[in-house]
Amino acid sequence: MSRELTYAQAIREAIALAMERDDRVFLFGEDVGIYGGAFGVTDGLLDRFGPERVRDTPISEAVLAGVATGAAMTGMRPILEIQFMDFITLSMEQLVLQAAKLRFMLGGKVNIPFVLRTPAGAGTGAAAQHSESLENWFVHVPGIKVVMPSTPADAKGLLLGAIEDPNPVIFVEHKLLYRHKGPVPEGYTPIPLSQTQVKREGADLTIVATSLMVLRALEAAETLAQEGIQVEVVDPRTLKPLDEQPIIDSVKKTGRVLIVHEACKTGGYGGELAAIIAGSEAFDYLDAPIRRLAGLDMPVPYNRELERRMVPQVEDIVDAARKLVREGI
């Protein structure tokens, strides 16, 4: 059974299901309680689970990451909300030097099962310090897993999967997706991490996209279909550890690949994907160069039109895809 939920509702449902099922799960972060979260994602959870398990915190991102790590090391399953992904910069020491490494440094004797949920992305007019997409920083840190759901169903299932996972997981939500609706299965339905999914099948071109860009790629695919270009849209869903094979298989089938993400292009996840594809058996099947479409290398601007231009839009994807298929560049 499934029904339509928004991405935010799907996340809330996953948190509630996990908390009902497991006493070790608790939620904490800035304004997650009375306020219901800066984007309303955790609305109602305080009333339902009480202030011990839904904890409003001071604005202290460094110690909050430490609380997630320390509590996880000693038997709890914390869910931490960092209000904007930009603010994760204030948690970096505890995430990168403690959470990611403690298990290895201590000879594998502890597990650190926590989920850090955080909204990323531009498009809300919040300018350069409230719009970042920093997922690739964490992709570069062994010991951490990185998840970026694009649909309400994935948001619910992958959050449950992340909570079950015995490692620290950075769960990157997109602000513009919170109100997006889609079918979501009822009940406790975790999706295991590291399962890439083909969101739409097509024979002419593979678009590998993450988060909000998956939706834009699907919209672009509709337009392109009317021109006779059949696009396959592939969503890694878990950026690390990546399930590579479905991506490689798709490129082998289509012979062309366009990678789309919102984060700045230089040093972004697209570079890693391109290298994986180029180094795989798909290389021999390529009929055109591997292309990347990504955020411009700049801080997110405030002005509506500048902000729009900084991030790939549907028409940009259509143009890039058309060129790749028609002109091979």
Partner: protein
């Protein structure tokens, strides 16, 4: 630890001023504490020798001279209580009950070491004795302690967590965040600052404008106390009070133990920032000798038994070295083990 502490009803406890002077600790408990302090010193002296012989890879941070604060504070804990330690953490590990053989094996990067040779001197952990690990980042354990405190509180465990850090870490921003959070949530955390006067080369006189680091406690509405860190009993008393308070659910305490490291910060330190005279002054306040002399004055220790303790400790360290030397190196095929669960 509490199981070595006499209860108020025990006959020895009611002996009057003498047992009061020893904070209610029994002669057996004190002898074990003294042995633990000797063990820390012997362990570190041996480790330094192995380093000079080129057998230890990397660096290490010795706590020689600080044994009073390590053992005095941990003596107020129970076996099931947690500690989080620092880069200068060998003493904390041994005080909490870590086996020197497994520590030495770790120093020699062997598979049998506490961290399977993956962590080294700066990351000794012994989860079974509640030791959640030393930390290479100054102040790195301070935020973790708040998390362990939340965990204890939510699981309703009758435990506390003691987090060690130095004077340098008290100037990190995370110190502020952690003490504030522990205070508002009444977390069972004992913040134990071992002020050994220098953050590498930076003197506390130059790095802060307060007399006592414990003064900072008032900013968080929690108790703060400074003690002579080279006086085992003074540290024990302060720690006991803080631990009891935390166990009652009354929240955290900040303790400053003023002490001194006799050796340099690490193996590369030329010690340009302090004088030989200053080092000698502190060496005259050796925490081991001070406790031994007090016990002798009380008739709870004599020269022969003190010497026997030292011989016992020396034997344990030799066995530790032998175990470590004979142990196998990690198998390179297992290189990625432990990165992810």
């Amino acid at each position: 630890m509490d199981d070595r502490t006499e209860t108020t009803s025990s006959p020895e406890r009611s002996q009057g001023p003498s047992s009061e002077e020893f904070a209610g600790l029994s002669p057996d408990s004190l002898r074990e504490a003294l042995r633990r302090m000797l063990l820390i010193r012997a362990f570190e002296e041996q480790a330094e020798q192995l380093y000079f012989q080129g057998l230890i890879h990397g660096t290490m941070h010795l706590s020689i001279g600080q044994e009073g604060s390590a053992v005095g504070s941990i003596w107020a804990l129970r076996p099931e209580d947690y500690i989080l330690s620092t880069h200068r953490g060998h003493g904390h590990s041994i005080a909490k009950g870590a086996k020197p053989a497994l520590m030495m094996a770790e120093f020699l990067a062997k598979e049998t070491g506490y961290c399977r040779g993956r962590g080294g001197s700066m990351h000794i952990a012994d989860v079974e004795t509640g030791n959640l690990g030393a930390n290479g980042i100054v102040g790195g354990g301070i935020p973790l302690a708040a998390g362990v405190g939340v965990s204890i509180q939510m699981q309703k465990l009758d435990r506390v967590v003691m987090v060690f850090f130095g004077d340098g870490a008290a100037n990190e921003g995370a110190f502020h965040e952690s003490l504030n959070l522990a205070s508002i949530w009444d977390l069972p955390v004992i913040y134990l600052c071992e002020n050994n006067q220098y953050a590498m080369s930076m003197s506390v006189r130059r790095s802060m404008n307060i007399q006592d680091i414990s003064q900072r406690a008032c900013a968080y509405g929690i108790p703060g106390v400074s003690v002579d860190g080279n006086d085992f009993l003074a540290v024990y008393r302060a720690a006991k009070e803080a631990v009891d308070r935390a166990r009652r659910g009354e929240g955290p305490t900040l303790i400053e133990a003023k002490t001194y490291r006799w050796k340099g910060h690490s193996r590369s330190d030329k010690q340009r920032y302090r004088t030989k005279e200053e080092v000698q002054e502190w060496q005259a306040r050796d925490p081991i000798r001070r406790l031994a002399e007090r016990m002798m004055a009380q008739g709870w220790l004599d020269q022969a038994s003190f010497q026997a303790l030292q011989e016992d400790v020396a034997r344990e360290i030799q066995e530790a070295v032998a175990f470590a030397m004979e142990s196998p190196e990690p198998d390179p095929a297992t290189i990625l083990e432990g990165v992810y669960a």
